[in-house]
Structures are given as structure tokens and as C-alpha cells.
Amino acid sequence: MITFEGVTKRYGDGTVAVDNLSLQVPTGAITVFVGPSGCGKTTSLRMINRMIDATEGRILLDDQDIREIDPPTLRRGIGYVIQQAGLFPHRKIVDNVATVPYLLGWDKKKARARAMELLERVGLDTKLAGRYPFQLSGGQQQRVGVARALAADPPVLLMDEPFSAVDPVVRASLQDELLRLQAELHKTIVFVTHDIDEAIKLGDTVAVMRVGGHLAQIAAPATLLAEPADAFVEGFLGKDRGIRRLSFVPASGLAVSTERGVPGWSVALDENERPIGWRRDGADGLQPFGTFDLKKDSLRTALDAALLAPPGSAIAVDGDGRFAGVVTREALDEALRRAGQVPGDG
């Protein structure tokens, strides 16, 4: 747990970047600091590993005031990922990843073995280990940055706009990778971004900040979307809050009919029982269809699957993509009505 207690940062020129910030970052979850540029996110983040020292207030790391810890020692126990990766250009990838283990005095062989393991973990080919940073793409460098931060297995990870400089496709895959890693590692992660969609996708908790370093609202993403605290948060969240909130309602609550169709339509399957299209009664051709995973997907995905298909119904599949049933428009309507009535953590 990381606790901010009335933390203020005033820079030498008088700028108050963070003003009397109090919040808690829970252990083992992702907390996102989000807000417009210049609102004090980076300053807040960097106060945690003492890259910047607070002017007033205090920050506790598991009940210990971080000012009592010598900064380099503190930082070796906290993973740190920045926007431009900041890899050491003169070192091979494997040695970049092993930076902190080397600092902690691990022997070279063990540190390198650990680095190789981490490269795999973050989804990189271990063939890249012998390359230098300039020989990697931006997305690959960013993954190495994450591997480096994780090398000594720190309980806390600080990430400052780590995916902002890569293109949207790579960014999405890096985000997915982070969520996958986090499901295995359960780190305490503080993630800074100016992108509200990224915040909502990644955060277990989202802290919305406004310029001047004021905390506007801190809540779970679904709560934020359903009940923004004020006009600023509402404006920052942007359009389509209702639809986006459906992402946090599990599809598993839907009423599924195990019939292989709806009146006038049937679901065509291949030999592996995977859906291949909708067939109108009496017709030969196949029509577009959409599927959702009954166990893993959200109501939003299910709704989307229905909107894609001419019969207006969604096809439910199991984890292997095999047909599991059909969700009619009526069943969807009922679920949407319930979702609208119960604001909250979904």
C-alpha cells in the first residue's frame, strides 16, 4: 500500500504542481493517475521513488515514510518505466534488463538467466537478447523497459505514460500484455496517462486529477463512468459513457437460449461446432454474425455481436469458440435495463 498524506510539491519557480494530495494506492492492483497535461501526474508519480521530493506532507510505503529510505536503495526496490523507455544504448538488451540485479550484486549468470526469463515473460523473442536498443522497434524497446523494471521482482511498479509514444495497434497489444502480466504477478502498479480510455482499460482504480494537482475523483472505472463527481470529470470522461460502462458488466448474466436459432433464422456451424454465419430459413447464403465469450466477455461485446447480425441476436460461444447458445434482442434489452438501473461497480 502506498499512502499520500497531504502531499504538496512546490517547484523552485513557485509552481504548485501537486496540491495537498491525499490518496491510497492499494497493494496488488493497478491505480491509474489520469488528467490533462500539466496537471501534476508525473510529479506525483516521481515523488513515490523520490526522483522528486515532496515539499510538504508525506508518502508512506507499507507504513514506512519514504524519506527515511536512501533514494538509490528505495529505487532498486521499485520498478520504473518511462515513456521513452530510457534503455542504456551501450548495453545489450539482456544486460539492460539485468541492470538492477547487477546493482543488487547478483552474479552475472543468475542475473542474465533472470533477464532471459523476463524477456520471454513480456512477449519478446529471446533472440533479441544480444542486440542493442537501437536495433529494436519502439514497441519492443518499451517491452524491454517493462522487463527491466520487473527484473529484481519489485513489489511496486511505477509507469509514466509508458505506451504513449507507440502507435495505437502496438499500444493496445502492450496494454493487453500488461493486464496479462498483472494477472500473474499482482504487483502494486501506479500508472500515469493522459488517455482516459487507457485509464479505464487498465485501472482497477482511477484517480482523475485536474490542473494544479488536485484530485477530482478516485474510483473504480465503472463507478467513474456511472457517477462522475463533477462537470470536470464528466467532461474529461468524454462521450458514450453509457455504452462504455457496459464493458464492466459481465455477459455471464445474460439469458441464453440453447436453441440453434431464432424465429426465421438458424445458426450455421462448421464441423468443429464453431459458428460460421446466420442462415435465413429457406435461403442458402450465410449472413454476418457476431459472437461473444459467455464466461469472459462483457455486455458491451455481447451487444456489439448482436448489432453486427441481421437477426439482431448475438451468438454465445465457449472458451474454444464452440457454439454455446443464442441471446435474443429481448434478453439483451432486459440485461441493458438492469445495467442501467444498478449504477455501481458492475
Partner: protein, 223 residues
């Protein structure tokens, strides 16, 4: 061309205390001494100022002074003041000549390292000295070596003045040749100095290849 043949073809020029090998050795020794002395002063200073970013004024002043400094004039002045025949009066201006390029390039190299990289180094938990020696120096090395190369070539060229004060070196051929109107000797001496400068240039290219990480010079092949 004939003059060169006259000079290099003359057996007498290859042996004894006035022979080319000895003169060359004197020249190299002298230049090396000046360069090493300058390095010992300028490199730590450049590293310190570049790393702490304190005292940058000193670098600017040194660089400007260097531009205004007439080396030969300085040599003559010091020789007049100190009397002919000892090493220091000639060594000192050579050192003074070598310091600015080393100091300025070391400083600029260290100071110019990408801010994000410094930040990442501190963020990983490296201490100040580790950041300097393990990150900034390897990354700034091409510039540091460039400063050394410029200094070395200037020193080698200027060390010909050592001959003025009886300290030998390749300058002897030039000065003695001028005095006795022995043009083959003058030209031969000049060619030797130029050749030595070329060797220095080559040596630094080699050093660059050996010392600078392929990741910094971007020489590495994709594997």
C-alpha cells in the same frame, strides 16, 4: 620529389642521435607527455562539470582563451622567461593547447547525454558516480575521444617548436634545414610530422572501434 629522395635516401639520416628513429621517438615522447598531462587535468574536470552542471563558465572561458592563444607566441614568451634548455617551458604551452579541446568535448559529451537516459539511470537506483561512469561516460565516449584526437594532432604538429629550445624531435629537421638552407631536410621533416599526425588519426579510429560500444556507434549488425 628529388628533395624527398635526397632526405630519406641518405643513410646518415637513419642512424645516430640525429637520425629519424631517435628524432621520431623524441617527438612522440614529448607529445605523449603533453597529452597525458592535459588528459589528467581536463578529463576529470570535464566529467565533473558536465555531470554536476556546476562551473560551466570555466569551460566557456577555457574555450575562448584557447581561440585567442597564439601557441608559438606563448612558447617564445615562456622560453624567454625560463631560459632555454629545460623541458617544462615547452611542455606547458603544449599542455595548455591540448586542454581546451579535451575539456570542451568531455564536458559537452557528458552534458549532452539524453535527459531521459540520465533519468532512467537514476530511476533504476544507480548512484551519482555509477550514473557517470556506467552510463554517461560510455555514451559520451565518441565525443570524448574526438576531443582527445583533436588535442593529439594539435600537439604533434605544434611539438615541432621543441626544436627551438634544443629539445630535439622532428622539428630539428625543419628548423636546422631552414637555418642551413638544407631544403630536403626541411621538407623531409615536414613530411614526417604530417605522417605522424596521420598515424595519430588512424590510432584514434582504431581506439574508437575498440572502446565505443557498437550500440552507441550503431555499428552492430542485426543478429
Amino acid at each position: 620529389m628529388n628533395w624527398l629522395v635526397d632526405f630519406f635516401g641518405n643513410r646518415a639520416n637513419w642512424s645516430g642521435s640525429g637520425g629519424i628513429p631517435i628524432r621520431l621517438l623524441e617527438h612522440v615522447e614529448f607529445s605523449l607527455a603533453a597529452l597525458l598531462l592535459a588528459m589528467v587535468i581536463a578529463i576529470p574536470l570535464g566529467l565533473l562539470i558536465g555531470h554536476t552542471r556546476r562551473g560551466a563558465v570555466l569551460v566557456v572561458v577555457t574555450a575562448n582563451a584557447a581561440r585567442a592563444l597564439p601557441t608559438l607566441g606563448l612558447v617564445v614568451l615562456i622560453v624567454l622567461l625560463a631560459g632555454v634548455g629545460t623541458t617544462w617551458p615547452v611542455l606547458l604551452p603544449l599542455v595548455a593547447l591540448a586542454i581546451p579541446p579535451i575539456l570542451v568535448n568531455t564536458y559537452e559529451g557528458i552534458r549532452g547525454v539524453d535527459e531521459d537516459l540520465r533519468d532512467a539511470a537514476y530511476g533504476m537506483g544507480l548512484r551519482g558516480r555509477q550514473v557517470l561512469l556506467r552510463v554517461l561516460v560510455p555514451v559520451a565516449l565518441p565525443l570524448i575521444l574526438l576531443g582527445l584526437r583533436i588535442a593529439a594532432i594539435q600537439v604533434v604538429a605544434t611539438a615541432t617548436v621543441a626544436a627551438y629550445v634544443g629539445l630535439g624531435g622532428l622539428g630539428r629537421y625543419i628548423i636546422d634545414g631552414l637555418a642551413t638552407k638544407d631544403f630536403p631536410s626541411t621538407i623531409g621533416g615536414a613530411v614526417l610530422v604530417a605522417a605522424l599526425a596521420l598515424v595519430v588519426q588512424l590510432a584514434f579510429s582504431l581506439l574508437q572501434r575498440v572502446l565505443v560500444s557498437p550500440g552507441v556507434s550503431r555499428r552492430a549488425r542485426v543478429r
